[in-house]
Symmetry: C2
Subunit: 425 residues, 2 copies
Amino acid sequence: MSPLNILYAQSGGVTAVINASAAEVIRGARARRPQVGAILAARRGILGLIHEELVDTDSFDDAVLRQLARRPGGVFGSSRYDLPAVAEAPALYARIFAVLAAHRIGAFLYNGGNGSMDVVAKLSAEARTRGYPLVCIGVPKTVDNDIEGTDCCPGFGSAAKFLATSMLEAGLDIGSMAARVGRVFVMEVMGRNVGWLAAATALAARDTADGESDPDQPPHVVLLPEAGFDEARFLDRVREVVQRVGYCAITVAEGLTRDDGSPIMEQSRDAKGYVQLGGAGGVIARLIHERLGYKYHWAVPDYLQRAAGHWVSATDHAQAGAVGLAAVEYALAGRDGVMASIRRLADSPYRWEVVAVAAGAVANLERRLPEEFIHADGLHVSAEARSYLRPLIEGELPVPTAGGLPDYRPFRLPLLPKKLPAWPS
Amino acid sequence: MSPLNILYAQSGGVTAVINASAAEVIRGARARRPQVGAILAARRGILGLIHEELVDTDSFDDAVLRQLARRPGGVFGSSRYDLPAVAEAPALYARIFAVLAAHRIGAFLYNGGNGSMDVVAKLSAEARTRGYPLVCIGVPKTVDNDIEGTDCCPGFGSAAKFLATSMLEAGLDIGSMAARVGRVFVMEVMGRNVGWLAAATALAARDTADGESDPDQPPHVVLLPEAGFDEARFLDRVREVVQRVGYCAITVAEGLTRDDGSPIMEQSRDAKGYVQLGGAGGVIARLIHERLGYKYHWAVPDYLQRAAGHWVSATDHAQAGAVGLAAVEYALAGRDGVMASIRRLADSPYRWEVVAVAAGAVANLERRLPEEFIHADGLHVSAEARSYLRPLIEGELPVPTAGGLPDYRPFRLPLLPKKLPAWPS
């Protein structure tokens, strides 16, 4: 049997640990030589497959691989690209399979979110139709934690750790400032439709005896898209907290909507109709100021929350690596069309394993916070949510530095010589 | 001679290392017993002096002192309070000296910024007028780095390190995302009138051979209040950067003004006329979107930048401790009315020492970026600025953690029994 040539690609919004998956794909595949042949990575995600922009990762020595594993952002480049159905774009599929064939690629490992699992399923199906020998494997990744079929998503734990730490630290700051008038701090976190990252900030508060969030500690309120937004109830709570502890710290998911479904955030659309979100934090802060007269500060960590390589969760980093490693094994075992997924075995002490789930069964779904993770008052998370979240942010890794900053070195990514004519668009 | 009783208080906006100053005041004063007697700290800054809310720090054992030194926010509480002139508030001064006398306090160590040095000078002068034996010492602190008479301000280096790291990491994120349209990332940092923190983000870019910021690396543009804002020139630069590298990362100081002096940010005023700033980042991002059509993200780290105890500059932490320690020595030496200040001896390798400057000479001034720190094009910092900034963010400290978060324990701060009647307001 000829060796298996593997192509790895990154997709969608990147994370602080996406390259840990890449590094373990490469390391794991190298360890399986001679069954494995070439280990390639696509530039710009699937665009690199379409445009035949492929990197031979054999140019990375062990030191470079170690740097890769700790670098935030997508080293090979990522893109948001919705692969159309075969019937809509036959030439595009012909091109993709021409590139695969030109480089004799037998396994495609796609590191992405919900939409990426759809691509895995589509390419898998089309390969069978064409009789092309391809194993397609999904490697999950998203800070949003919204992929079905996995207990958690690599990338989430590190963003969650950064945000919980940020809420803890900002809470100590605002809590130490005496003032005659009430003060609020609002932190807007990522999550267009889901409240996983918002929920994670609850870990900044200590446990009560019942495993709930201590109501006197930041965040005092967590506004979740899944819980809706009852303005009067929210403002009552803020007033009550300020009267009790002097200030109030609030987390809001960027995609929070009012109970009638209208968004809290300010919206604008660009020329192509792409919705530019942003501003839920400012809207909530100003609402409090107008109604209750409190002073306010608001923060929007934005990219900082998904790129904080200086403060990743060791658990998350290990899981990102493990799904990459598993994907290689699945590829060698010919387990086409599966996603490497995390299964939780126990909360405390936390134990987990990697299992395969069908990519097609989870594609394009969106996992929202289950009802039992939302506190009965709709303004915070439950003890169950805390038990779920707690292990995901645990553990720290040493941070190599240079000049006071994380030592992220530039990567040389020479493209393989192209074998096909250029693809027009 | 009877032992010297010392009172320490925190003032104004807090920092990630303000408690390192507190810890070294306490440690240094303990080491000078029996010349030193009581070592007290005021709750809520100078309000604690007025209201006789005093903590005896002897309740802190060595382990608690170590925790104190690493905890962001002001453990004893801080406040923004402009002490009026004696003629305007004779009863208030009488009260302050009554509290000092009741606890036989002979030294007041005030940990704050420009305005706090004015308080040091005022209390020093009034003590002489009254013949009350008091030594007043300023301990500098501000993330804004705008105190005159010191090479840098404790608190700045850590905020600078956090922001430069954030720009570096967010830059890797946006730089890895391929897109057909240009993309920009705008990070709004603190600085109402001064651009020190904005300037510090330039360290995210590597040096060119001339010691300038590599023009291809984030941040590609740094908008400084001291440089003004020429919209056309700015947009030209953004377009040029996007055409060259595909995206553009921009730092903007919250207090940026247009060339006519009008602020960029959206403003609102609360009921007391306190200006609520915020929004320069969003305004700049939307401006780019409207004029150039690029997609945008913007971040506002807000409190996160001054509270990031998980990622402090070891240099900054050492300097915060050193000015606290020096203040104790100045107090014992009777050097009334001085501020402990950092003097730079060499850039590289960086060497510094602590010297005393007259608090009255630096009070209420505001140190802005010198002209030679601004790049000739007005859109970035100069090589000189980089040389100045570089050592201030250097060095890391281990972070004690629990459950994946920095292990910031609660502090017990029992108040000393009051000896005087309550102060009414």
